[in-house]
């Protein structure tokens, strides 16, 4: 088998497996998996910037929340239907990421991390400040009547699962296309050696900006879908924690791998789910995993698989 055939087989098999699980999973895990798929889409968006371009952002909650609030506010205050609302969320994500990228990309390394962290914090506080519209920490619910798309009630578990799978598949295939495209390969080159890439004649800044926008758009779309599918929009999703989560998921699953974000999100989701039944201090798990990963497995799970078994894994 050629590498391309192997790659396609593997990823189509994963998508088919997720589709099949729809019919066999018990209700609780069925709901969880729908959630995981949306969050994994967020993680894949994060991975475009962190895993492939080598830019570590600590502010992706800004994009996730931009999508979520872009969608939610359009529904709540403009009475938009689901599709225009998703469009509004996506547009908000693109606008916010373009602005943030244009500013933050003037810095690099640690400064980039702190600048993104600060902008995201400012975004979170802005959500709180405009509590009249956003309802602040408390958030607001998207009513069931406003979550009907093409006659499908998205609050119905089966429909919701299919919608989450559709989002996930779209993101997965986009990333798969990206890593094989000329553009994606330049991003990897920037990650590996920025100065060399510049001296091959590539406009590094333009490529990085495009990566921020692409990553922001995917994160925002995931945020918008999360709000729409689960019917709730709240400031928690704009907080630092939601900037740390995708980093954690991607690091755990394997940065710069297509399937890593799904693996990492799935693992972490269930780790936290299980430990929160035992203790309220469930974020302890996140802390321990972060430290352990930086110490022992900086490549993550899929990264280790690639290094040891399947060198062709994209």
């Amino acid at each position: 088998m050629s590498d391309t055939t192997r790659t396609m087989t593997l990823h189509v098999a994963v998508l088919a497996g997720l589709l099949a699980l729809q019919f066999v999973l018990p209700a609780y895990h069925h709901g969880n998996l729908a959630r995981v798929m949306v969050l994994a889409s967020y993680a894949m968006g994060y991975n475009i910037l962190f895993g492939y371009t080598g830019l570590l952002s600590l502010g992706h909650a800004l994009f996730f929340a931009a999508g979520m609030y872009g969608m939610g506010l359009a529904v709540q205050h403009l009475g938009a239907g689901p599709l225009p609302a998703l469009g509004a969320g996506l547009a908000a994500g693109v606008a916010v990421s373009a602005a943030l990228g244009a500013l933050a990309l003037r810095t690099a390394g640690v400064a980039f991390m702190i600048v993104t962290l600060m902008f995201a914090q400012a975004g979170y506080l802005t959500v709180l400040y405009f509590g009249t519209w956003t309802r602040g920490d408390e958030g607001f619910v998207i009513a069931q009547a406003q979550r009907v798309l093409w006659g499908l009630d998205l609050s119905d578990p089966a429909n919701r699962y299919f919608a989450a799978l559709a989002l996930f598949a779209a993101c997965l295939l986009s990333v798969l296309w990206l890593v094989h495209s000329r553009f994606g390969r330049v991003l990897v080159a920037i990650r590996e050696n920025e100065e060399r890439t510049r001296m091959l004649g590539y406009d590094v800044f333009a490529h990085k900006l495009a990566a921020v926008i692409l990553s922001g758009a995917m994160s925002a779309l995931a945020g918008a879908c999360y709000g729409l599918l689960f019917g709730y929009v709240g400031a928690t999703f704009a907080s630092v924690q939601y900037s740390i989560f995708p980093l954690l998921w991607v690091l755990l699953g394997g940065a710069g791998t297509v399937l890593g974000p799904l693996i990492g999100t799935l693992f972490m989701f269930y780790l936290i789910d299980l430990s929160s039944q035992v203790t309220t201090a469930y974020m302890l798990i996140a802390g321990v995993v972060l430290v352990a990963l930086t110490l022992f497995a900086p490549q993550g799970l899929a990264g280790e698989v690639r290094a040891r078994l399947w060198r062709w894994l994209p």
Binding site: T107, F119, Q121, A122, T126, G287, L290, T294
Partner: protein, 308 residues
């Protein structure tokens, strides 16, 4: 109250914030300056200082002065030791790689915070100040007989708050003496200037790093012990000091101690004054945006000099 005494009161409150902030931020700045790493868990060391202060005071009982004095010694020391342990088990092993250090310290942040939640619990608990005399402050006005003094209602501070400002000043002076005059300070500055050269001169760089990391955390803990009789000890209290220290260190110029102190005074005072006029949320939004923009457009800080 009239405007002028009100502003004076805000400035006084701001000075307390500034004093505590200066200590915390100098700790962060020291770590960044010498080790070139950003310690995201710095706020948790602050929190740990406050929580340990409560433990110590609570265990000892007796006169509040006794418990407080013990806390003042024990809490920073213990936090310093915890930080040294974190340095040796985690940071050293990832060779102080700047980006991986940030990820690791985020992990340490959650570990400290959540372990505190599991042991200390979610409540906010006060520590009794050792002394707390209310001091009314006179003000003046132009009456019929020229300037006359009066005591506006509400214009007062406490002896403890003044002591905090004084203590912070003394500690900062000690840090400066340590850095400028002592042998260990010399070694730290040598390591800061050129790590490779320091290694070549057989300076035990790894031990210096551990000491600096411990010292930085200890300073944050000390600041927390000082403030805990005024505010309270809570497991989530580390967020604000971390954010404010970031702001101070970045505006003061990364790694510059004098710049950090100046920026701390500026931010501490303006935090008190701004929140009189604006909502605290808006003040925070403006402050975080300011920091981000300073990093983007003036990475050497507002007071720093651009390096060639």
């Amino acid at each position: 109250m009239e405007f002028a005494p009100y502003l004076f009161l805000a400035t006084l409150e701001g000075a307390v914030t500034a004093a505590v902030l200066a200590l915390t931020a100098v700790g962060l700045s020291l770590v960044f300056g010498v080790m070139r790493v950003v310690n995201v868990a710095h706020g948790e060391f602050f929190m740990l200082g406050a929580v340990l202060a409560w433990w110590v005071a609570h265990m000892l009982g007796g006169h509040p002065g006794l418990g407080f004095a013990a806390a003042l010694l024990i809490a920073p020391l213990m936090v310093g030791l915890i930080a040294v342990a974190a340095d040796m088990t985690v940071l050293k092993r990832i060779e102080y790689d700047p980006e991986r250090t940030i990820v690791a310290t985020i992990g340490i942040l959650y570990i400290i915070q959540q372990v505190t939640l599991m042991t200390y619990g979610p409540d906010a608990r006060p520590v009794e100040p050792p002394f707390n005399t209310r001091l009314a402050i006179p003000w003046f006005r132009f009456g019929e007989d020229g300037v006359e003094l009066y005591w506006p209602w509400g214009l007062a501070t406490t002896s403890y708050k003044l002591a905090v400002i004084g203590a912070a000043g003394v500690v900062l002076l000690c840090v400066w003496l340590l850095m400028a005059r002592s042998r260990i300070g010399l070694l730290m500055r040598a390591t800061q200037l050129d790590r490779e050269m320091a290694l070549a001169f057989a300076i035990p760089v790894e031990r210096i790093y551990a000491i600096v990391f411990g010292l930085g955390a200890g300073l944050a803990a000390l600041a927390a012990v000082l403030i805990v009789p005024i505010s309270q000890a809570h497991y989530l209290m580390g967020g604000d000091p971390l954010l404010l220290s970031f702001i101070v260190v970045i505006i003061g110029g990364l790694g510059s101690l004098p710049g950090t102190v100046v920026a701390a005074i500026l931010i501490g005072l303006s935090d008190g004054i701004i929140s009189v006029f604006f909502s605290p949320t808006l003040a925070k939004i403006l402050a975080t945006l300011l920091v981000a923009l300073v990093l983007v457009f003036r990475p050497q800080g507002l007071f720093g000099v651009r390096r060639a």
